[in-house]
């Protein structure tokens, strides 16, 4: 009898307290993620504050001189420009082919082929950035120099000498090479996200178009793409974010030139590439702090891109603006 009485409080501990403890632990772990994101912003601001106070927020972002050697002046504009040009360029190259692959996979290809392509896309998306980079350094950049840059520059020297400063030195490592590699790297990512968006289009939507006598392309054009538009746009935004943050392959191929003027074929730099190249060697406090401030700018740009992507997918993806 007594033993039964002793046992009674146990379930209370087991149930009530157990649930409380479990919930607390789980929420604490969830809060860790929130804390991580906030501490990232705070740490970057704190470490970069020296440079931010010295040059001012606007002054730092607009400053076009990056000179850790003599003048000891730091401005982020060349890197922001380099990041924006390479990322937008990469997205412009990657956008249509990526969507084309996704549409081909989802609508045209027989299912065995579609499965092969899908697995390949995922496989390719898994290639580490440095592995693409080593191919770029030893194979792609020399090939581009021999087959594209040199002939174009030679042609320009003969016929339009005024174009030469715009084209820049054809060493192979530069803005165009980095942009093309970046495009190759984000294509699988964009394709996978576009495919997800197309898969969400309900069957009825397609069947309605078929019933109207549409050809296969017209079904895609009238029923599939408008419906998947939001998802495709959100996926494109996310790919853009990927391109902005892509570090290793770009750092290996862009040639790393820290000051304006940049040229089409010539070397340049991006925000991640300058951090990678100079952080390990930076000695002065102001230099380190400026690199952290560039990190903060990169954080801000990525944050905006990601939030816009989240907003688009919430507003547009489920219904494509109408239906349901």
């Amino acid at each position: 009898m007594q033993s039964d009485l002793l046992k009674r409080p146990l379930p209370v501990i087991y149930r009530w307290l157990g649930d409380k403890i479990f919930l607390t632990v789980v929420v604490l772990l969830g809060l860790t993620i929130i804390f991580l994101a906030l501490s990232m912003a705070w740490v970057l601001y704190k470490e970069g504050s020296l440079a931010i106070h010295q040059f001012g927020v606007i002054g730092f972002l607009k400053g076009s001189v990056w000179d850790p050697g003599v003048q000891y002046v730091f401005g982020a504009l060349p890197f922001i420009f380099g990041t924006m040009v390479t990322s937008i360029g990469a997205l412009a190259i990657a956008f249509f082919p990526a969507i084309a692959i996704a549409i081909f996979m989802a609508e045209y290809a027989p299912s065995w082929l579609s499965k092969i392509i899908e697995n390949l896309v995922h496989l390719i998306a898994a290639i580490p950035s440095v592995v693409v980079g080593i191919w770029g350094i030893f194979v792609f950049a020399p090939w581009m120099r021999e087959t594209v840059y040199l002939p174009v520059v030679n042609f320009a020297t003969e016929h339009y000498p005024s174009l030469l400063p715009v084209l820049g030195s054809p060493i192979g490592y530069g803005m165009t090479t980095a942009t093309i590699i970046l495009a190759l790297m984000i294509i699988p990512f964009t394709t996978a996200l576009t495919r997800d968006a197309i898969d969400k289009v309900p069957r009825e939507q397609r069947e309605a178009a078929w019933a109207l006598g549409a050809t296969r392309w017209e079904v895609i054009r009238m029923a599939v793409i408008p419906y998947a538009r939001g998802g495709i746009m959100a996926g494109t935004m996310l790919s853009f974010g990927r391109a902005i943050g892509e570090t290793m392959a770009v750092a290996m191929l862009i040639g790393n030139k820290n000051n304006f003027p940049f040229s089409i074929f010539g070397p340049a730099a991006t925000m991640p590439s300058v951090i990678i190249n100079e952080f390990r060697e930076a000695v002065g406090n102001m230099h380190l702090s400026s690199l952290m401030a560039i990190g903060l700018a990169l954080f801000a740009i990525s944050l905006i891109v990601n939030l816009v992507a989240a907003y688009i997918s919430r507003k547009l993806s489920i219904t494509g603006g109408q239906a349901i």
Partner: protein
């Protein structure tokens, strides 16, 4: 909007043209990507040998004199740093995933979901800077631990998201069955939902692991790199340590021809490792049936 009516012939022609355009661009894009893999495999296979797996790198002179060099220290370092990252990332990611899926009404969830996705989209290099400020600066030295933490930051959002979707795929009736026989909620989660979602959870860990294993950017200023094996195994955690992706970068930008060849060898090892992880993850996903 009134469009001029086209004949069926024209419309079918257009269908054909679009189809061939799609096929063309698919081939156009897949070809260079497959060429990359092909190059790495061919060049890597010719550069790799037994020395690669049993010797350490040493100074450039060592390779130029033709003495045996390898990357055994990078392979061991990668294993240590990656597993360290996994050990740190799994509890946090799992906990956050459980919070998102098992307590769907929790007030913090919408915010957590957005922040987690944003963190996932953040460039890995920023996670390296964060680990640098949080671990390297206070410790006063580059270390494998800092590298592990940096990679954990890469893994956590991926694990949280995949855990959430793995747990969500378990029907609510299973949870209700558990509650109906008198299990408290925490036992329902731990003993019925999580075992049922086991495959999905492991897949998520593998994908996060594969993503982090290929990252070099956060490691360059956390685990830093090291041409030699540390004297004692604690040196792997407390001191600068080499990892494959970071070593591959250093080899590729070095001026030595012998090191370039070793870079290709490192490339094939890294590629094989990452792709094996991904294929395992995808095969697990295929088996998953409830």
């Amino acid at each position: 909007m009134i469009k001029p009516v086209k004949s069926l012939k024209q419309r079918n022609l257009r269908d054909r043209v679009m189809e061939s355009l799609l096929v063309f661009s698919t081939i156009l894009v897949m070809a260079p990507l497959l060429i990359i893999i092909g190059y790495v495999v061919v060049q890597g296979a010719s550069a790799i040998n037994a020395d690669f797996f049993i010797h350490e790198l040493g100074s450039p002179a060592r390779a130029m004199q033709g003495r045996p060099t390898g990357l055994v220290h990078s392979i061991l370092g990668t294993a240590v740093v990656d597993f360290l990252a996994l050990i740190i990332a799994i509890p946090v990611g799992l906990g956050a995933g459980v919070m998102l899926s098992e307590y769907p009404d929790h007030k913090l969830n919408p915010m957590l979901r957005i922040i987690n996705d944003t963190l996932n989209g953040m460039p890995a290099i920023l996670k390296g800077l964060l680990a640098f400020a949080l671990i390297v600066k206070p410790m006063g030295t580059f270390s494998g631990l800092a590298g592990g933490v940096a990679l954990a930051f890469v893994m956590i959002p991926i694990i949280a998201r995949s855990t959430e979707s793995a747990l969500m795929s378990i029907p609510w009736t299973i949870r209700e069955a558990g509650l109906a026989i008198g299990l408290p909620r925490w036992r329902v989660v731990l003993s019925t939902v999580m075992p049922a979602a086991k495959t999905g959870l492991v897949t998520g860990f593998l994908i996060a692991f594969a993503r982090a294993a290929g990252e070099a950017a956060p490691l360059l200023f956390t685990s830093f790199g090291n041409n030699y094996l540390p004297n004692h195994w604690t040196g792997m955690i407390m001191g600068p340590v080499d990892t494959l992706p970071q070593r591959l970068y250093s080899l590729a930008i070095s001026p030595y021809k012998e090191w370039h060849a070793m870079g290709w060898a490192a490339g094939i090892v890294l590629l094989a490792f990452v792709i094996t992880l991904f294929i395992t993850a995808r095969m697990l996903t295929k088996e998953k049936k409830y």
